[in-house]
C-alpha cells in the first residue's frame, strides 16, 4: 500500500512512543511530588473492616475544627482553610478566608477514596499495611498523616505516624 509508512520506521515509532511518554509522566510526577510544605494531619481508621484493601490503608481525616465546631462535616467541604505553622495544624475552617496558611482542595478527578477531604489512602507494603491497620484501630494511639500540600491545594500523603493520645 502506498500510504503506509515503512514498517521498520512505524515499529520504531510505536516502540519509542510509550517509552518517551512514560519517562515524561514519571518526570512530571516526580517534580510535582517535591512541591509544597509538609504538614501533619490527625487521622483515624476509616472502618476497621475496610482498613486493608489490597496494599493500601484507608484513613479518615480527623480535622481539628476551629472553635470547637463539628470536625466531621469539614471533610465534605470542597476546600479547607488550614491555619498553623507547617507541619503543625492549629485549626481548620471550612470558610476560606485571607488568613489561611494554606488551602487544601478536594480533587474531583481522582479515584473515589481520595476525592473528598474526608478520606484518603496510603499505599504501603502488605506487612506494613497490617501493622498500620492495627495501630489505627488502637484507641490509645493518635494517627498523624504526614502530607505535602502543594500551593495549588492538592494533598499528597507521604507517611503515617503515631503519637500516644493524651488521657482524657
Amino acid at each position: 500500500m502506498s500510504w503506509m509508512i515503512p514498517p521498520r520506521r512505524a515499529l520504531a515509532a510505536s516502540l519509542l512512543l510509550p517509552l518517551a511518554l512514560f519517562a515524561g509522566t514519571w518526570a512530571t510526577t516526580h517534580r510535582k511530588a517535591q512541591q509544597g510544605d509538609i504538614w501533619l494531619i490527625p487521622v483515624q481508621g476509616y472502618d476497621p473492616r475496610d482498613l486493608l484493601r489490597g496494599h493500601f490503608v484507608q484513613y479518615r481525616y480527623d480535622w481539628p475544627a476551629a472553635g470547637g465546631a463539628d470536625g466531621e462535616s469539614l471533610g465534605y467541604a470542597p476546600a479547607l482553610c488550614i491555619i498553623g505553622r507547617a507541619p503543625h495544624i492549629a485549626a481548620v475552617r471550612s470558610d476560606v478566608m485571607d488568613h489561611c496558611t494554606i488551602v487544601a482542595k478536594a480533587t474531583m478527578g481522582a479515584r473515589r477514596e481520595v476525592q473528598g477531604l474526608d478520606t484518603g489512602i496510603l499505599y504501603v507494603s502488605q506487612p506494613r499495611a497490617i501493622a498500620l491497620s492495627k495501630q489505627l484501630a488502637d484507641p490509645t494511639l493518635q494517627g498523624l498523616l504526614l502530607v505535602r500540600i502543594r500551593p495549588d491545594g492538592v494533598i499528597r500523603p507521604i507517611d503515617l505516624q503515631f503519637r500516644r493520645r493524651a488521657r482524657p
Binding site: L19, A23, T29, Y76, A106, A110, Q115
Partner: protein, 384 residues
C-alpha cells in the same frame, strides 16, 4: 483428528492402512495449533499477572525510584528485543504476539507503579485511556493473534466502562449528582465503541496484510454488540429504560447501521453481507425494544422474548446464508432456551396451577427436541 478414530475405521475396513497414514499426515500438516495458541496465551497472561503482582507487592526494601527504574529498564529492554529480533518474530507469530502482550502489560502496570511510589491516585479510566493512546500504534499495527487483539479490545471496553461509571451520572459524587452535559448523547456514544471497532476492523481487514488480526477484532466487536442487544432485550422488561434515554438507544442503533454499511462496503462476500444484515436487524431490535417497552404495559414478557428471538433468528438465518455452522447451532440453541424461559414466565401468571407447570415442561421438552432436530438437519456443513 485422533489416531484412535483412524484405527477404528481401518479395523472396520472403511479405509486401508495407506489411506489412514495419508489422512494422519495431512491432518498433522494442516492442523491449526489452537492448543498451542491457548498455552502461549495462558503463559503470556501468567507473566503479565505475575508482573502486576510484583508491582503490587510494593516491597519496602527497594526505594521507589529504583523500582520504577527497573520497571522502565524492563520496558526499554523488551522494546529493544522486539526491535532486534524481526526474523524470529516474522517466523513465529506466537513469539511475536507474546512479546507485544508482555510489553503492553508492563506499560499498563507502570501507571499503577508511579501511583504507588508517589502516592497519587487517578480514576481507572485515565491510565487506561492513556495506555490505549500510547500502545494502540504498536498493538494495532503489529499484532497478529488473539492475545493482542483481545487485550486491546478489553482495554477499550474497560476505558468506556469505567468512564461511564465515574461520569455517567448513575451515582453521586460527594453528595452531588454528577451528570454529563448531554446525557443522551453521552450514553449513546459511550456504548457505541463496539460498533466503531467493528466498522474499523472490517475496513482494515480488507486492506491489511494481517486480515486474521482484524477478523478477530471484528468478531469480538460483533459478539459484544449481539450480547449487548440481547442483555437489553432481557433486562428492559423489568428495568424499563428511562424514556429520557430513548435518544441514546436511537444513537446506538444508528451506529449499528453505520457499522453494517461499513462492513457491507468492505466485504462483498456472503460473510460480509450476512454480518451487515444481522447488524441491521440488531439496530431495529435495539431501538424497538426500548420503544415497545415504553408503550406496552403488561406485555413486557412477550416484548422481551420476541425481540430476543427476532435478533437470534436473524443470526441463525445469516449463519445459514454465510455457512457458519457453529454460529447457526448456537443461535438455534439460544432461541430454544428463550422460548422455554418464556413459557415459564407466562406460566407464572397462573402460579399454583399445576397444569401450567406441566404445559411449560412439555413445551420445554418439545422445544429442545425441535431445536436439536433443526440444528442437526439445517446446519451448514463444516468448512475448512
Amino acid at each position: 483428528m485422533s489416531d484412535r478414530k483412524l484405527k477404528a475405521w481401518q479395523q472396520a475396513g472403511l479405509i486401508d492402512a495407506e489411506t489412514a497414514a495419508r489422512i494422519a499426515g495431512w491432518e498433522a500438516a494442516h492442523s491449526r495449533p489452537l492448543g498451542i495458541w491457548a498455552l502461549v496465551g495462558l503463559g503470556a497472561l501468567a507473566i503479565g499477572l505475575g508482573l502486576v503482582s510484583l508491582v503490587a507487592t510494593n516491597w519496602d526494601a527497594i526505594p521507589g525510584a529504583v523500582r520504577l527504574g527497573i520497571h522502565f529498564a524492563l520496558m526499554a529492554g523488551l522494546a529493544l528485543l522486539i526491535w532486534i529480533a524481526p526474523k524470529q518474530s516474522d517466523a513465529n507469530d506466537r513469539f511475536h504476539d507474546g512479546l507485544l502482550f508482555i510489553a503492553a502489560v508492563l506499560g499498563l502496570t507502570f501507571f499503577g507503579h508511579i501511583g504507588q511510589v508517589y502516592q497519587t491516585s487517578s480514576p481507572l479510566w485515565q491510565p487506561l485511556l492513556a495506555w490505549l493512546v500510547i500502545f494502540s500504534p504498536l498493538l494495532l499495527l503489529f499484532g497478529r493473534g488473539w492475545p493482542v487483539a483481545g487485550l486491546w479490545y478489553v482495554a477499550l471496553l474497560g476505558t468506556g466502562w469505567y468512564h461511564a461509571e465515574d461520569y455517567g451520572g448513575r451515582w453521586t459524587l460527594l453528595g452531588q449528582h454528577v451528570q454529563p452535559a448531554y446525557p443522551v448523547l453521552y450514553w449513546g456514544l459511550i456504548a457505541s465503541l463496539p460498533m466503531v471497532v467493528a466498522a474499523m476492523a472490517a475496513a482494515m481487514r480488507a486492506r491489511s496484510a494481517r486480515p486474521d488480526f482484524w477478523r478477530l477484532l471484528e468478531q469480538l466487536a460483533i459478539a459484544t454488540i449481539l450480547a449487548g442487544v440481547s442483555i437489553v432485550a432481557i433486562i428492559s422488561v423489568w428495568d424499563r429504560p428511562d424514556s429520557a434515554y430513548l435518544g441514546s438507544f436511537a444513537i446506538q442503533s444508528l451506529f449499528m447501521l453505520g457499522a453494517a454499511v461499513a462492513i457491507w462496503a468492505a466485504r462483498r462476500t456472503r460473510s460480509g453481507q450476512a454480518t451487515a444484515a444481522i447488524l441491521c436487524v440488531a439496530a431495529v431490535v435495539h431501538l424497538g425494544v426500548a420503544l415497545l417497552v415504553q408503550a406496552g404495559g403488561r406485555e413486557g414478557a412477550w416484548i422481551g422474548a420476541l425481540s430476543f428471538i427476532a435478533l437470534w433468528s436473524a443470526v441463525a438465518y445469516g449463519s445459514l446464508f454465510a455457512r457458519w455452522r457453529r454460529m447457526f447451532q448456537g443461535a438455534v440453541g439460544l432461541i430454544a432456551v428463550r422460548i422455554i424461559i418464556l413459557s415459564f414466565e407466562l406460566g407464572d401468571d397462573l402460579l399454583g396451577s399445576g397444569i401450567s407447570l406441566i404445559l411449560s415442561g412439555l413445551v420445554a421438552i418439545g422445544v429442545a427436541w425441535v431445536a436439536v432436530r433443526v440444528s442437526r438437519r439445517y446446519a451448514p456443513e463444516k468448512t475448512g
